[in-house]
Assembly symmetry: C2
C-alpha cells in the first residue's frame, strides 16, 4: 500500500460535513467514491485532519490516502479531480511516509470566520452577514482574553470531559466590509469556533462587554451556545504539521 | 412620480437573464416584484442600462425606477433589499432627474470576463475554468487589434444591420491563476463579449495566431460563434454616465 498526503479545498454548502455517514452526502464520502473510481480499488483509507460540520468550508483540509497504486502524485491528483464534484478540489498530492496520519500528526489547526458588514449578492454562502453596526476594537479586546490555556466548557456543544484548550492565536482583521476572524489551536471542541465568533460579534454589536468572555472562560454559561454563528462563514483554513512554518495569512477571500 | 437611479449587483446563475419574461425567473422580474411589495404600488417602471444574458452576473448594473413614493433613498434601498432574493443586492439608490434614462443615457459599458487557469472549489459559478495552458502575451496582442472602430459582424449571434462598434478598451490582466479580460464600448452586440473572449482564449491556447482576430474584423466568419465562452465568467462591471470619471478597476473578484 502507498501513502499520500492530500491537500484539498471544498465548499461545504451542499454537504453534511466532512465525516462519512450513511444516507448523507459528505466530503469524505465523495472522496471515497472518487478513490474507488479513479484507482479502481476497494481497499483504501482516507482520513482528514479533523471533521468539519455541515455547511462549513475548507480552504485547505489535509488528509492521508492509503491505497494500492503506482500512479505518480500529479496524475493521481488529476484523476481524483476528474472524479470529484466541482465543489471539492484537490490542491495537491504528495507521497508521504507510511507513518503519516493526517489527524494524529497535525499539531495545530487554523479556522477563518468571515463576517460581512454588507449584504452581498455573491457571498451569501461564504459569510455571515450581520446587519447591525460592528465595532472591531472591542472584538479585538475580547479576542485577547481568549489567547492562552483556558477552559472552554462554555464554548462547546460537546459534553467532553476535557475542555481545556490552548488557543495560540485569536486575530481579527478588517478588509473593507469584511471582518476576518482567525483562531489557531492544537485542537478545537465541537462548535467552539462558531460559539466564540457568536460571542465576539455580540461584543462588536455593543451588547456585551469584552470582559464577559473572560467570565465565561472557566465558569460554565449556556449563553455562548445561544449565540452560535452560522456555518456559512466558517472555513478550515489550514492544518499544521511538524516543521511547517506558521505564516499568518491575512489575505481576504475569495480570490477564485 | 419620482425617479431614482438604482445601482445593483447580482449573481446571474439562477436567472434567465436581466429582461423580464413570462414564465421565467429574471432579474428585472424580481425587481418588479420587489418594487410592488416594498412600495405597494402597481404603476411603476424599472429599466436597466442593458440586458444581460442567462447566467451572466453584474458587479454594478444601473437602472432607473419610476414610482410614486415619498421614501427617502436609503430607506427605499433597504426596503428593496428586504424584498429581493439574496443573489440580487441593491448597492445604492439616488434621486435622479425626471429625464434620467438608464439605457439611453449610458455612454459606455464595461464587461469583465474571468478565466481561471485552475480548478476551484469556490469559483465554478464565477469563472470559466480553462484546463489548457494559456499564454497571456498573445492574448494581449490579439486584444490590441480589437480596439477602435471595427465591424464585429463575426462576433455576434444577432443578425443586426449595424455591426460597427467602437471598442474603447480591451484589457487583459493576470491575477494569480485568474486572467481578467475587460472590454469597454458604448454598446455591445448580442454575445459579442463571449465570442471575443472565446477567440482570445483560443489565441492563448496557441491554436490561433493573434492576427486572426484582425482578419475576422470586417470579413464575416462563423468561427467565433463556435468558440463562444460560457456565461459563468461574465460580469457587467459598470455602465458609465456623462461626467463620470472612467477609473479603470483592476482588482480581482470576488471580494465579498
Amino acid at each position: 500500500m502507498a501513502r499520500f498526503r492530500i491537500d484539498l479545498e471544498y465548499e461545504g454548502t451542499r454537504y453534511s460535513g466532512w465525516q462519512v455517514q450513511p444516507n448523507a452526502r459528505t466530503v469524505q464520502g465523495e472522496l471515497f467514491g472518487a478513490v474507488e473510481r479513479a484507482l479502481n480499488v476497494r481497499q483504501y483509507d482516507v482520513q482528514g485532519s479533523g471533521r468539519t460540520d455541515a455547511g462549513v468550508h475548507a480552504l485547505c483540509q489535509t488528509a492521508h490516502l492509503e491505497a494500492r497504486t503506482s500512479l505518480a502524485p500529479p496524475l493521481l491528483r488529476q484523476r481524483l479531480n476528474d472524479a470529484l464534484p466541482a465543489d471539492i478540489n484537490v490542491l495537491g498530492v504528495d507521497r508521504a511516509p507510511q507513518s503519516f496520519h493526517a489527524r494524529h500528526d497535525a499539531v495545530a489547526r487554523t479556522y477563518l470566520y468571515q463576517v460581512s458588514r454588507r449584504r452581498t449578492a455573491f457571498g451569501k454562502r461564504f459569510v455571515w452577514w450581520v446587519k447591525d453596526p460592528l465595532q472591531t476594537r472591542p472584538m479585538q479586546a475580547a479576542a485577547r482574553f481568549l489567547v492562552g490555556l483556558h477552559d472552554f466548557r462554555s464554548f462547546t456543544a460537546a459534553s467532553e470531559a476535557q475542555t481545556r484548550v490552548k488557543l495560540e492565536e485569536a486575530r481579527i482583521d478588517e478588509d473593507g466590509d469584511l471582518i476576518l476572524i482567525r483562531l489557531t489551536a492544537s485542537h478545537f471542541l465541537w462548535k467552539m469556533v462558531r460559539q466564540v465568533v457568536g460571542v465576539l460579534v455580540e461584543v462588536g454589536r455593543g451588547r456585551l462587554p469584552p470582559q464577559q468572555i473572560q467570565t465565561w472562560l472557566g465558569t460554565f454559561s449556556p449563553e455562548p451556545a445561544k449565540l452560535t454563528a452560522p456555518p456559512s462563514g466558517l472555513f478550515l483554513e489550514r492544518a499544521w504539521y511538524p516543521g511547517e512554518k506558521r505564516a499568518s495569512d491575512s489575505r481576504p477571500l475569495l480570490r477564485v
